[in-house]
């Protein structure tokens, strides 16, 4: 595990998925700026969608869990690692960026 910078909170979620992604070039959307976030999609071994979040807004674990679960319910991806760098984006922006990233993957 890499070191989490002070002040950030790290959250991890893992879902078993059905839509298996093969090899793909990593996808990056969004920017790390106030109220915004960066989403990186990379291929991963196995049949899971792994989501790793580093956020500057601490204490919103329950909301992240709901946002991550809804994302997985919408796309049901497998073989992917999702990395999020968040600077206090609202759940609406997070969901939008996630969907934008997936749409680059599955045109």
């Amino acid at each position: 595990m890499k070191q989490i910078p002070a002040g950030l909170e790290a959250l991890d979620y893992r879902f078993a998925g059905k839509t298996q992604l093969g090899a793909f070039a990593p996808v990056l959307v969004g920017v790390v700026g106030s109220g915004n976030l960066e989403v990186l999609l990379e291929p991963a071994a196995g049949h899971h969608c792994e989501i790793h979040i580093e956020t500057s807004a601490r204490g919103f674990g329950a909301i992240w869990q709901a946002v991550a679960s809804d994302f997985h319910r919408r796309h049901d991806l497998a073989g992917v690692r999702v990395s999020i760098n968040d600077m206090g984006a609202t759940p609406a922006v997070v969901s939008l960026r996630l969907d934008q990233a997936v749409s680059e993957l599955l045109p």
């Binding site: 109220g35 807004a57 919103f60 329950a62 909301i63 709901a66 946002v67 206090g88 609202t90 759940p91 609406a92 922006v93 939008l96 969907d99 934008q100 749409s103």
Partner: protein, 560 residues
């Protein structure tokens, strides 16, 4: 025999005028008061306990007269009852700290809201009531007529005629109420014209209604309140604007409307000539407006969407643009805007089919409020714009459709056919710093307890709200058949807030089946297409360009 004096107001007025004349001597020529004599004038004409209107508007401020009122001797002038729509300058509250005034009736305190709350809790000031603009103006003609009105205009002539310039705002309502009830009207102006070598561009207030005119050493302060930089509009706001246009404006065929202040509605204005055009809606929606001259509406005006705009007040930098678009705006013979808050509020209430605006908190009944703890701010015009006009009788398709939806599941008197105004609250489920817009209990209730108010300060009652629009979807409250459905419908668009997460998913799904809740995809909107590229202007510079160089933004909005 009737020994009562039936003309005490006229006699009191004559006595005040005589005192002014004696106190000022040669510093008063006809109606013109020397600037340095202004404090003496106020001490001569204002009596302890008088109701005084110190004109404070959204835009222009009688700032010189406000400063002068602060300099009167509190031994002579005290216990004043201030009746004014907006408290925006520090002096508007300084007069209470100085013991010059003690009672207040008002509409909106914006930037002074926190200080006002402190003064109330310290017992320095007693609030009569917080009003809507129209409600306060109405009381000027019933039980709150000013004894002395201190107003602001751009210029006066030798007779005392006033030219207000584009920010006429409250002045006609204040002056009429004062001048015709035995009161005294004092105007500060930026310029004096002699009537011979120079004349007023037009007359906004006739000289007959004005008693004294003073030239202020500096032009009155004007606040650019309605300017929103398109650069700050987010993709989520673009998405919500798409939903508003397709899911509400097009759905009801809204031709006449009022927009609240803020980025959410600015996004709608900037999407009309792009997204609205692509839906073929030009000429079918948004033709007539009760609205300040929003710079964000320039692209839609230029694209031929807008037939008319009547304004509450003007907006800094829009003067030349308005002058060049006199078919659209209400303008005088001189070419500049004539605004009038009282008439525009009446227009918004009675002649518009839709109001849409933002808020800070919405509860499970749909009550909406911008009141926050530690502030007493009032709501200005929102409660009139955002309320069904119960006295309205003329029909329009949008009004009739909303009325049919509202009454379909009612019986008895409540089922009598009539229309209903569309009142839309547009909010992101989370505001800045993850503050939820949906709450179980409005802060307004706590504020009521803290400030000892008769009622919680609710901006728009749930009974009047017809639609709530968030990034998650639109809920049509008119289609809810009972309180349970209403609560679940609201939870159903409350996103990941605690209120939203506590939804009954089965009931929410059913409400969506019935079209009570509509998600973006139900409206045929792909959120991934909601990008800033859809905005007809993406910066202040774009707005200037769209205006053909006629719009001249205030310096603080010039980033290039």
């Amino acid at each position: 025999m009737n020994s009562r004096n039936w003309n005490s107001k006229a006699q009191g007025r004559a006595a005040r005028l005589a005192r002014a004349s004696a106190a000022l001597g040669t510093r008063l020529v006809h109606k013109r008061v020397a600037s340095e004599a202004i404090v003496g004038l106020l001490e001569a004409v204002i009596e302890p306990g008088d109701r005084v209107c110190l004109e404070g508007n959204n835009q222009k401020q009688a700032d010189f007269l406000a400063k002068a009122l602060m300099q009167v001797d509190p031994q002579r002038v005290h216990g004043l009852h201030m009746v004014q729509s907006v408290l925006s300058l520090p002096e508007h509250l300084d007069v209470f700290e100085a013991g010059i005034a003690s009672r207040l009736d008002f509409s909106f305190s914006g930037p002074q809201g926190a200080r006002l709350a402190k003064l109330v809790s310290a017992g320095r000031l007693e609030i009569g009531a917080i009003h809507t603009y129209l409600e306060l103006f109405a009381r000027y003609f019933v039980d709150l007529s000013p004894k002395v009105a201190l107003v602001a205009a751009h210029a006066a002539d030798a007779q005392g005629n006033l030219y207000t310039g584009p920010n006429t705002e409250d002045t006609p309502a204040i002056v009429e109420a004062t001048a015709f009830s035995g009161g005294i009207v004092i105007a500060q102006v930026n310029e004096w014209v002699d009537g011979q070598t120079s004349t007023l561009p037009r007359v906004d207030i006739p000289a007959d209604w004005v008693d004294f005119v003073v030239v202020a050493p500096r032009p009155n302060f004007i606040e650019p309140l309605f300017t929103r930089d398109p650069a700050q509009i987010s993709e989520i706001q673009v998405l919500m604007a798409m939903m508003a246009i397709k899911g509400i404006y097009a759905e009801y065929g809204v031709q006449r409307l009022n927009h609240g202040i803020g980025f959410d509605t600015a996004a709608i204005e900037l999407l009309l000539p792009t997204y609205g055009e692509s839906l073929g809606l030009k000429g079918k929606i948004c033709r007539h407006w009760a609205l300040n001259p929003h710079p964000a509406l320039i692209p839609a005006i230029e694209a031929g969407w807008v037939e008319s705009i009547h304004s509450f007040g003007s907006e800094l930098g829009m003067e030349d643009y308005i002058r060049a678009r006199s078919d659209v705006f209400f303008t005088g013979r001189d070419g500049s805007l004539r605004s009038n808050r009282a008439f525009s509020q009446a227009a918004g209430h009675y002649a518009c089919d839709l109001f849409i605006g933002s808020t800070l908190q919405i509860d499970l009944e749909g009550n909406s409020s911008t009141a926050t703890l530690g502030r007493i701010s009032g709501f200005g015009g929102a409660p009139n714009m955002g309320a069904d006009a119960r006295g309205r009788r003329h029909a329009s398709p949008a009004w009739l459709k909303a009325g049919r939806e509202a009454r379909a599941h009612r019986s008895g008197a409540a089922a009598t056919p009539r229309g209903q105004k569309l009142v839309v609250q547009m909010v992101e489920t989370f505001r800045e710093h993850m503050q939820p817009a949906f709450v179980e209990r409005l802060d307004a209730w706590t504020l009521q307890e803290q400030a000892g108010m008769a009622l919680p300060p609710i901006m728009i009652y749930g009974e009047d709200v017809t639609h709530i629009l968030t990034e998650e979807g639109i809920v049509n409250l008119l289609l809810c058949r009972n309180d349970d459905e209403r609560e679940q419908a609201i939870r159903g668009v409350a996103g990941y807030t605690a209120v939203g997460l506590a939804r009954d998913q089965r009931m929410v799904d059913e409400l969506r089946e019935r079209g009570v809740i509509k998600r973006p995809e139900d409206l045929g909107i792909d959120p991934r297409l909601a990008t800033r590229n859809l905005l007809a202007a993406r910066s202040m510079r774009d707005l200037v360009r769209a205006s053909g160089g006629l719009y001249n933004p205030p310096k603080r909005f010039r980033h290039w």
